[in-house]
């Protein structure tokens, strides 16, 4: 008997694939489109959301019995806002350049549907430890998609990964660029992320037809 029971493990593993917040529940699309042009920004965003969602779920879960249900949305918003401000300040202090890249989207974590969704659907009805695992699981599922999108967009759009020129230098025409290859400017702009998300959804659902919705 380890730290996690089977039920607990599922809380983390389910959102990674078959109950993924982005590709299955289709939540949190907005930030997935906006900040995934670079892999680094995607990872920082994923970590920020993990912090906010993990901590937020615990806080809400602890307070779940004393929050009057009429004002629960406002209470949830205050909790998220507090946590987001912490993330924002930390980023500004220790990773200023990155916080400029992410710009308004750190603040917009508040409006990320995944967070309010998990508060409402899980934290209000479960104990803190399980809520914490659920928060981590969902933010991991969100993060994985962000990293996949970020990987393809940065690789194809800028020819770099984490800022390293993995495909060669486009200016001096080294590496792959010597053969006439060029960066794909389309991958830099947000619509490309929408198409990458769409392709991920397509691949996922054709591998597992049970996920296809009836319409």
């Amino acid at each position: 008997m380890g730290l996690l029971s089977k039920k607990d493990t599922n809380l983390i593993l389910d959102p990674l694939a078959d109950n993924n917040p982005i590709t299955i529940q289709v939540l949190g699309i907005c930030s997935a489109l906006a900040i995934t042009a670079e892999l680094k920004a995607s990872i920082v965003m994923a970590v920020s959301v993990m912090f906010v969602l993990g901590m937020g779920n615990v806080v809400i879960s602890l307070m779940r019995n004393i929050i009057p249900s009429k004002i629960r949305i406002i209470v949830q918003l205050i909790v998220v806002a507090t946590l987001v401000i912490i993330v924002d300040q930390v980023l500004k202090a220790f990773a200023y350049e990155l916080s400029k890249t992410l710009s308004v989207f750190v603040g917009l974590i508040i409006t990320n549907c995944i967070i309010m969704g998990r508060f409402e659907a899980f934290a209000l009805a479960n104990k803190p430890w399980r809520s914490f695992l659920d928060g981590i699981g969902n933010s991991l599922g969100y993060g994985i998609i962000l990293v996949i999108i970020g990987f393809f967009r940065e690789l194809l759009g800028s020819g770099t990964l984490f800022g390293y020129k993995v495909l060669g230098d486009p200016v001096n025409k080294t590496g792959l660029y010597a053969t006439g290859y060029e960066n794909n400017g389309f991958m830099i702009i947000p619509p490309a992320a929408l198409i990458v998300v769409g392709i991920i959804i397509w691949v996922q659902r054709s591998r597992n037809p049970a996920l296809v919705e009836e319409n």
């Binding site: 290859y181 794909n184 991958m187």
Partner: protein
Amino acid sequence: MSLKDNLHKFRVKNEGKKWFPVFSGFHTFLFMPNETTHNGTHVKGADDLKRTMNTVIMALIPVLLFSMFNAGYQHYSAINGFPKDFSLMDHFLTWDNFWIGIVKVLPLVVVSYVVGLTIEFIFCVIKGHEIEEGYLVTGMLVPLIVPVDTPLWMLTIAIIFGVVIGKEVFGGTGMNILNPALTIRAFLFFAYPTWMSGDKVWVHDAVNLAGTPDAISGETVLGYLAQNKEFSYSVSDMFFGFIPGSVGETSAFLILLGGLFLIFSKIASWRIMVSAVAGTLVMGYIFNGVVDAGWITETSKFYGLMSLAGWKHLIVGGIAFGIVFMATDPVTGAQTNKGKWIYGFLIGFISIMIRVFNPAYPEGVFLAILLMNVFAPTIDHYVVQGNVKKRMKRLKNATILPKADDGKAEELKVETV
């Protein structure tokens, strides 16, 4: 036994095999199948989808041939200067010019068909469908709407994107929202803008020679106008197409002939073409009016394009090609007659608006058509609803009046509205 019968036997024998759609695709391309339906009454039309597509391709062949000569003509003229006393046989229809066309334009056509049809075949085999003919026209349109020096690998990627994302994900031919050929062009434009705009890409070798003492200009007429510069092309050059531009878009004359052929054969909608031309003229003359009224000065960056006479907009850039071969796509265009008028008019109108107001890239036809593709179902919806409403009103106003003399029999009197 004739070839046709043999093929039919082969068809019956192998029905249901995995590769059957591939055979069937080629078979029905050449022949009408022998099968007939047995029950009920049917009207048999000779113009199935393949015949429709072939007609459009026939309309495109003169444009393609012209563009092959023009690729060479523009290349050599940019190097040696335009010939003083131009004669069609001596300067244009020469083997040298055609050779450039064979080397530069033909590969675009081949790549377009090979890549596009491969994807189409793969999807049909996976889905177990019949091969759909949709790519036949798209494959011919694509090489005609890209610059002559477009690298083939870029074209390949763009075609894969356009066919898969633009068409197959929606369910294949007939289900797509956006015109696949224009999706491919839009992808190229946003992915590789340096190869799709500017003053180099429109003439063969201008990109390679840039920065050398032999540098040549590949500026289009619209490019000159957007920069308020003088250019040496006459109106007849523009009309007959002896100007730089995307491969097949230059010759308004041949496109016009193709358009008339399509209207005559009832393949393309004349309503869309006429209203798109009207839209172009209206917007063009509105801009002329703005210039005449003196609302903008000659130093304005819009002056060049705004002062171009309204009707000349039709013979420069891609608008003629767009109107005749792109806007009239029966899948992505409006379906109702009234809708077609609105759809076409807005394409012309918006094209010229984008052309004039987009400083980075003075061409907006493909964007305007894609935009209207998206709105076409909405237009149709309101046209249909409007018609329903009109008829409901007519029904409500229909009154039943008793006959004046005996009061027993009733007479239906319908007031038409």
